[in-house]
Amino acid sequence: MITLKNIVKAYDGKQAGNKAVDGLNLEINKGEFVALLGPSGCGKTTTLMMLAGLLKPTAGEIYFGERLVNHVEPKDRNIGMVFQSYALYPHLTVRDNIAFPLRERKIPKQEAYARAKETSKILQIDHLLDRKPSQLSGGQQQRVAMARALSKNPEILLLDEPMSNLDARLKLDVRDEIRKIQLSLGVTTIIVTHDQEEALAISDRVAILNGGKIQQYAAPHELFNYPINLFVASFLGSPPMNLVDGKLEDKSGDQVVVTDGFEYKLPEDKILDRTYMGKTIKFGIRPHDLVVCDKNDNQAIPMKVDLVEHLGSGKLVKVTDTQGKLETMIRLLTDNEKEIQPGDLIYIKVKANKFHLFDMTNNGQSIYYTC
């Protein structure tokens, strides 16, 4: 198990005092596949570098199992690492690249080469062993980098945006393969990525970082369905969640979300605490949780269609309220069969009361969700 306790990393130099990582706590179980996900500058790569030992935390403790590793050199941490640029040694053959970490451990050449061959077979690159990295395609280089990281049987595999240099289709194959290999070897793996789809697809748990702090650390579906705050809610999902400014009000016993363009009555089975009344909130609904409904539906909200985009599998419709008072467009997904044109008046409702409320007086903490 890997434990990070109150990790702080402040870089010195020009931006001294700026904390790249600011009080980060994380626990990773043995054999788990964890993704560090966040926008650029959120501290995810810095965190990975500290796990690798390439950077030393300014404060806090990193434990591998029971062992405090803050001051342990990378080579003594039993880790394998794949860099975004792959960082293959350009003047060594694929065989020598894969065997490099073994040779540096004074493992005899023959044995090192045998193990390099074995590892290369797992990654299906055993026919490329005599090539130089410059003679390989991007996908092949990526495999060599994986093989080099795995050749020493590491306890922990660290992946720094390993797929960001691959084309979209290859990415899908490679990520499935990485997951398969990880499961079969049972190696604890930490991947840094800014690609949410990638993170959600292959990880057991995802840590969403922003501003050097972990916003939420949970299984992918949980992050998606129960975002703990506004950042997580707006960061995950494509197209992103609709977030409408509003206020909670008590209208003759009914709890109502009042926005500039419409009002929404909260379902009676989930009554909020009275203290929330009058608070400024953001009302969040995922585009696929909005449906076009009949005019007579008692939850129907009239909307004017502004834009229709064809996504292939369906349509993305952007609507605004009939008076045009809403500051943001509301996006919803419909199927291809629905005839909708810009300028149409349609009625929409929230599917099965699936919505989120974020308390804007408390940094956008989630106060309510139904899923």
Partner: protein
């Protein structure tokens, strides 16, 4: 001219057809190259087969200039001097350039001290040669006033001044030469080391690479082509240059520091045996040419121009 009558009316015709433009652009430089490089080269070759001297009435003498060179009893010593000068200068300046480049660009990467240190090394190569040579002459001055002599006297190591130039003229010449040439190689090598992506060092640290492995498996292979360039260009420089030697010792004492190129210069411009001097300098060119081919082969230059193959 069948069909020409139906052709589109002729547009404005440029004064020259398109094909001539590249040549027009190259022309001025081609002329300069011809006047200042090719003509002198041809003149030298022609001169080498004449007895052109101060009287400026050349006669064609065939290979007799070359025969004269090989029968010159000074030749073995001059060749030996040339070889010692070139080989030692090259070896030392390469090794020092390499050590300084690795030290400042790898071990002290990004440190201000490393930058200052490299700038200091640049000084010898940017001050005028005459001033530079005067400095060395002062250091090794054979009288009591000389820097080294007075220093040694003050520390009580010697009582009488040492005549440095009589004892080790070649050493002084080589020392002065390498100190001023190190910086050129150092800059090229530093730039090459600087081009190594940071990730490679990080990967090496994760892989537990020793400093020795980093230097021999990552840094040195990267320096192969710059090293080849420096080796060849500096070697040609050492084989054909005479300037420092002329200013420092003028080939002396006796012929102790006379190299082949200095000998060519002296024959042509001091003694006005232009034809003979030209013949000697042709030999210098020939030696440089052979050495260049040898080092191209040694560094396996073919490798550089071979294309890599990529399959998916």
């Amino acid at each position: 001219m069948v069909g020409m009558e139906n052709a589109v009316p002729q547009a404005y015709k440029k004064p020259f057809s398109k094909k001539i433009y590249p040549y027009l652009f190259i022309m001025p430089f081609a002329l300069l190259v011809f006047v200042f490089f090719i003509l002198p080269a041809i003149a030298t070759v022609v001169m080498a087969f004449t007895d052109l001297n101060a009287s400026l009435k050349p006669k064609f003498v065939g290979f007799s200039n070359f025969a004269k060179i090989f029968s010159d009893y000074n030749l073995p010593q001059i060749l030996w001097n040339s070889a010692i000068f070139a080989v030692l200068s090259l070896a030392f300046s390469l090794i020092f350039a390499l050590i300084i480049a690795i030290a400042t660009q790898y071990f002290l990467k990004g440190k201000v001290s490393a930058v200052i240190y490299r700038v200091l090394w640049l000084i010898p190569s940017i001050i005028p040669a005459v001033v530079y040579v005067t400095f060395w002459k002062y250091v090794f001055d054979p009288t009591d006033e000389g820097f080294l002599n007075s220093l040694m006297h003050d520390f009580g190591i010697t009582t009488d001044p040492v005549s440095w130039f009589t004892k080790g003229a070649m050493g002084i010449v080589i020392l002065a030469t390498i100190v001023s040439t190190i910086s050129g190689g150092m800059i090229l090598l530093s730039a090459a080391i600087n081009s190594i992506p940071e990730d490679l060092y990080k990967a090496a640290r994760v892989d537990g690479a020793s400093e020795k492995s980093v230097i021999f498996k990552i840094i040195l292979p990267t320096l192969k082509w710059p090293l080849m360039y420096i080796t060849i260009s500096e070697l040609i420089g050492f084989v054909s240059s005479y300037f420092f030697i002329m200013l420092l010792t003028n080939g002396g004492p006796m012929r102790d520091t006379t190299t082949l190129s200095l000998y060519a210069y002296q024959q042509a411009f001091n003694l006005k045996y232009y034809g003979y001097g030209a013949a000697v300098s042709l030999i210098v060119v020939l030696i440089s040419f052979v050495l260049t081919l040898f080092f191209l082969r040694l560094f396996d230059f073919d490798q550089m121009i071979k294309r890599s193959r990529i399959e998916d």
